[in-house]
């Protein structure tokens, strides 16, 4: 056990995978000497050489496309996309090639590629550096999509992603890179597709993932003062989604709040609300509520607090599903 930041935990996971399997290699912009703009790959080029830790030309389609070609020969490339907003030039290679190759070839060609994407807001960055594009990929059949919320998961999940024979989009909650936690490098991890009950509770189920798990836990802690017991689920996997775990929780609580940074319309919150409503309609005491980013391009950083779900907005939604006074039905107003 050692205490690591989330970013160092990912680095440790990459290191271990590089050590254990010589077909693992890293590709990306500035991942070598610089160690990546977030230093996640710090030291790896030095230790494994430029053949295994490859700085590439500045072209995301090129990176993903050539990585696919390497996978054809049995490699397991781990690609870094420098920021969330820079993944779109590679969209065709991801959606039309990476996601479909295994199905296209009747399972003959495996594409065990991992695409690491620092994602989400909250770091005061300029445009294109704070996006949450996970819904695009979770809607794309053939991909697995995961995200982590703590150093232990960061370490274990990156290793599981690399080990998976399917392509995995690995979203890293960049504003939590500096969060520290104990990491057991030999822990037996949960299966990659499983959600985790981060906090048990009885009144409301609060589903979060990635950067908002910490916010959700804060909200749950604050709710205790209001006499509310919130069960927090860290989704971890966004494709597939572990609905069994969410369902079990909602059957118990009867109430569901979902939070993510991505825009609300067509975001994962919609899928979770719809699927859970379908699975446990008669257990629900209220309509599931969503606390999400708005349907706008990510705003300038001085306004990001008015975009990002926070503790107060989550608790307002909790009040709503609890039938308590809330912003949409202020009792003073009636």
């Amino acid at each position: 056990m050692s205490e690591l930041t989330l970013s160092k935990a990912i680095g440790a996971g990459l290191r271990r995978s590089l050590e254990e399997n010589d077909h693992v290699l890293l590709m990306g912009e500035d991942i070598g000497a610089l160690g990546g703009v977030f230093r996640v790959t710090d030291g790896l080029k030095n230790d494994f050489g430029p053949e295994r830790v490859m700085d590439t030309p500045l072209a995301e389609a090129g990176i993903v496309g050539t990585a696919i070609g390497m996978a054809f020969r049995g490699y397991r490339p781990v690609v870094e996309i420098q920021f969330d907003g820079f993944i779109y030039p590679a969209f065709d290679q991801i959606v039309a090639q990476l996601a479909k190759l295994h199905a296209r070839t009747g399972g003959k060609v495996r594409v065990p590629l991992t695409i690491r994407v620092p994602y989400g807001g909250g770091i005061g960055a300029v445009e294109h550096h704070s996006e949450s594009p996970e819904a695009y990929f979770a809607h794309t059949a053939g991909l697995r999509v995961v995200t982590c919320s703590n150093p232990q998961d960061a370490y274990s999940m990156i290793r599981q992603a690399i080990d998976s024979d399917d392509p995995v989009i690995f979203f890293e909650p960049k504003r939590r890179y500096w969060v520290k936690g104990e990491v057991d490098l030999d822990a037996v991890p949960l299966p990659l597709g499983k959600a985790r009950v981060a906090l048990e509770g009885t009144d409301v189920t609060l589903v979060a993932y990635g950067p908002l798990v910490a916010t959700a836990l804060d909200a749950a802690a604050a709710a205790v003062d209001d006499g509310l017991s919130i069960e927090v689920i860290d989704l971890r996997s966004l494709s597939p989604i572990d609905f069994d775990t969410v369902e079990a929780s909602v059957r118990k609580t009867g109430r569901l709040v979902i939070t993510h940074e991505a825009a609300q319309s067509g975001g994962l919150g919609a899928e979770i609300a719809a699927s859970i409503t379908d699975r446990c309609f008669f257990s629900l005491e209220a309509a599931p509520a969503r606390v999400t980013g708005f349907d706008i391009p990510y705003p300038p950083s001085r306004l990001e607090e008015h975009f990002l779900p926070d503790l107060d907005r989550i608790l307002d939604a909790v009040d709503r599903v609890m039938g308590r006074e809330n912003s949409l039905t202020p009792w003073g107003a009636s």
């Binding site: 072209a59 020969r73 697995r144």
Partner: protein, 387 residues
């Protein structure tokens, strides 16, 4: 060898003649084109290239000729099958036999080809089972064969995407310390996409043993090559650090020589090469296309004179290698292939309904598994209902 490398001539900066008239660029002038066998079947000496095809005696050429005849026959048969409703679509390679067979026959078994949808002759040379050529076009599978069995990826329909895969594969060959080569096939239209340009950049930066083999058949569906490129396509690669050759794509000897030069270069650590095989799409883009809406008949007729098979036939006749027996044997083989092709086609059954859920993932996916379960329940419920 330097003669074979394209040296793009730079446009004159002082030329202010206004709007470029590209109409004359549709057909590329023939001057700087490598040609070893003329349309009339006359062999010309080109020392730089001749040495690469010394082993292609008349006998060997007969065998290449046979390949061309057979794939042309496959095209005819496939088109007929489409007309008869047995295939949904077919993309004929008519006119491009030399480009595809000349290059593909130059490959080694351990090389790997990444192609687009029109490279049926390449697949044929790689040893594809005939039935495997049919699955996609009959609609029973999204790709026909196991890439690892024949050393050829299943075709990419997204224009240009496969050039990056070839480049990555080539980089991997280098990492593995083997001298296998990747070859990417694509069309003139594909050169406008970002991917093939990025592929050249990656190939140059990583000195990848990859061949970019562009069949410039003058058309991207209805668009003439002049809309994609105001200079010859082979002129682009050198600027990326990728040497290029421009060959008569209807001359199987020139294509073979150029491919062998590029292969040799790649195997010996020399990196990527770009080959532009100048040819012509003599058929429609696909069986659903109607070239009469856009094609210039005169141009078409002109190219008919440059037929890749005819010139070999003429040459072999002069050499006395096309005896009646040889012709008869080839005709018999063609007939046999066509017959096998046809019966393989009509016998191709629809896959099982629930197979739509197969092989989407390599490992279990709970979301999809549930959909499969529900759909299975639905199918048996419906069956029960209608029973």
């Amino acid at each position: 060898m330097r003669t074979s490398v394209s040296e793009p001539e730079s446009p004159d900066l002082t030329d202010k003649s206004g709007v470029v008239d590209k109409s004359d660029l549709v057909t590329i002038p023939n001057e700087d084109l490598v040609q070893l066998l003329s349309p009339e079947g006359v062999r010309s000496d080109q020392p730089d290239y001749d040495s690469w095809i010394e082993d292609i005696t008349s006998d060997r050429l007969v065998s290449l000729y046979e390949d061309m005849v057979i794939v042309r026959r496959i095209d005819v048969e496939a088109t007929a099958l489409q007309r008869q409703g047995e295939l949904a679509l077919w993309a004929p390679l008519l006119g491009q036999e030399a480009a595809q067979i000349g290059s593909a026959r130059a490959l080694r078994k351990d090389d790997f080809a990444f192609s687009s949808y029109r490279e049926n002759a390449v697949a044929y040379c790689r040893g594809v089972k005939l039935v495997d050529l049919l699955r996609v076009w009959r609609g029973t599978a999204n790709s026909g064969w196991n890439p690892y069995e024949i050393g050829m990826a299943t075709p990419a329909v997204i224009i240009g995407a496969q050039t990056l895969h070839a480049t990555g594969y080539a980089i991997a060959c280098k990492k593995d310390g083997v001298d296998s080569v990747a070859i990417a096939y694509f069309g003139d239209g594909a050169t406008s996409q970002g991917d093939p340009n990025e592929a050249m950049i990656f190939a140059a930066s990583f000195n990848a043993p990859v061949i970019f083999f562009c069949q410039n058949n003058q058309w991207a569906i209805s668009e003439p090559v002049g809309l994609q490129a105001v200079r010859s396509i082979a002129d682009r690669a050198p600027g990326f650090g990728v040497p290029s050759m421009r060959v008569d794509g209807n001359d199987i000897l020139a294509v073979t020589a150029a491919t062998r030069i590029a292969l040799d270069r790649a195997r010996s650590g020399g990196g990527p090469t770009f080959i532009e095989a100048v040819t012509y799409r003599m058929g429609p883009h696909t069986t659903s296309d109607d070239p009469s809406r856009y094609e210039d008949r005169a141009e078409h007729e002109e190219w008919a004179m440059k037929d890749p098979i005819l010139r070999v036939e003429r040459y072999l006749e002069t050499e006395g290698a096309l005896t009646p027996e040889v012709r008869a044997a080839i005709a018999a083989k063609s007939d046999a292939v066509a017959a096998e092709f046809r019966s393989a086609c009509v016998e191709l059954e629809n896959p099982e309904p629930l197979s739509v859920f197969d092989n989407i993932y390599a490992e279990p996916h709970t979301g999809l598994d549930r959909q499969k379960r529900d759909y299975a329940a639905y199918l048996s419920y419906i069956e029960g209902e209608t029973r």
